[in-house]
């Protein structure tokens, strides 16, 4: 049945990644931690990569 709602792993991964990313930025803005460019670029790259990887793996045939 199309009415059954399924669990979406990509959204789960993306949600966790976005929450972690936003949380770190929030902590920086509240001056709890200090994020420099040396951390920012890997952080953004990793976040984007994790979301893309989750989407790519979920889109493989058989999933």
């Amino acid at each position: 049945m199309s009415g059954a709602r399924s669990f979406d792993t990509v959204s789960l991964v993306a949600g966790m990644v976005v929450i972690a990313l936003g949380g770190l930025l929030l902590l920086d803005r509240l001056e709890v931690i200090d994020i420099g460019f040396g951390y920012l670029f890997p952080l953004l790259t990793a976040a984007t990569g994790a979301i893309l990887l989750a989407g790519g793996l979920a889109a493989r045939p058989g999933r």
Binding site: S11, G15, V17, V18, R29
Partner: protein, 436 residues
Amino acid sequence: MTDQDPTNPQDPPAEQGQAGQGEPAPARAEPGAAPDLPDPTPRKLLRSTGDRIIGGVAGGLGRYFDVDPIIVRIGLVALAVFGGIGVFLYLAALLFVPPDDRPDQGAAVGGSRLATIAGAAALGIAAIAALGNGLSFFDAFPFSLVLLAIGGGVLYWLLRDRADEGGAGRIIARLALGVALIIAAGFVAVGAFWASAVGGGAVIAGLVVLIGVLLLLSAFRGGRARWLAVPALVLAVPVGIVSAADINLDGGYGEREFRPTTAAQLAPSYRLGAGAMQIDMRAMKFPPGERRLNVGMGMGQMVLVVPENVCVTADARLGAGYVNVLDRENAGVDVDLRDDRPSVPSEPRLRVSADIGMGALLVVNRPPPDDFEGGPGGRGPGFGPRDKGGPGADGPPFGPRAGDREKEPPLTTARGQAACDRTVADADRASSGGRR
């Protein structure tokens, strides 16, 4: 007569029939066929529906010219990146070259063909204006982005009814929508950047967290809100840049110039949100001993012009940009320049503490000329060294134009550079004399 007559319509080679429907006749001859006979069906340039990534243009060109389509794709991408003409050519091919499975469809995409062509031309011109070398990047970029967004939106509106029909109309409509969405995302990112820089970064970071929560919740409802990851990243990137560079636009905007003539007129600290600030202290007579000066800027260029006899030490931090303190320089991201030379009470010394988000800090003996890229009255942010090779020294917007370096005198004089060394030498001499 041979076994197979290629001119006989009742007995055509297999490739002829395919060519008539879009497949070109291969050059090789079948065994037993008449050799070197001209192909009676002229080759026709058609977009490939079997070998395509977007619209089959590269596949069709590769097949037509009998070269690997990858080579054609590399060429088109190179033309798109270097000047933008590749985008225009691709859109033109989408419009005028029919696909190989619809030989009778022709190049027309409907009654709005003229508007479509005009829209595609506008996109191409805007791309060339944005990426071309003939216009200043900063001058043309905002206008071109607006033109691209409007052109993309208009094109999609014109072709939206044909989006389901397939062919060129569908592809161009989707491309136009993509361009419009990318440009819109750019404006959202710029807005988030400015909002963060004026103190709203925590709010936007909280919004990113909220989007993450919505994404998590959507995971249990079939993942219908996957697309929220894109706006989350669009918001997170500018907040991250503002955070990493520690950009604070408090302090106003514009150009500021100060010329203190006495020690009393020199304030202990100066701050500007964005723009350019120049503090010309050459008319000042610095008393012996150390004088502290704190300067801060969110984005832009800070120029401190000091007398030649004053030793300058600095504790400068830039999120991203270029710092030059009497020819001691550093550039890049997370830039720090610290200089803790020993103090000599009998000599004047200026100790500069600088905190700049993105931009440049110059401590020099001569003010930059008006045509200096990024200087007060200049055009760009001035992230690059001026008088020597180094990061950004090759041209605008991050450095001077090539010919300017030779005719301009150096901003830091030899006397200015030697001031600190002399004070250090005096200190050594004084200490050694004291020991005797």
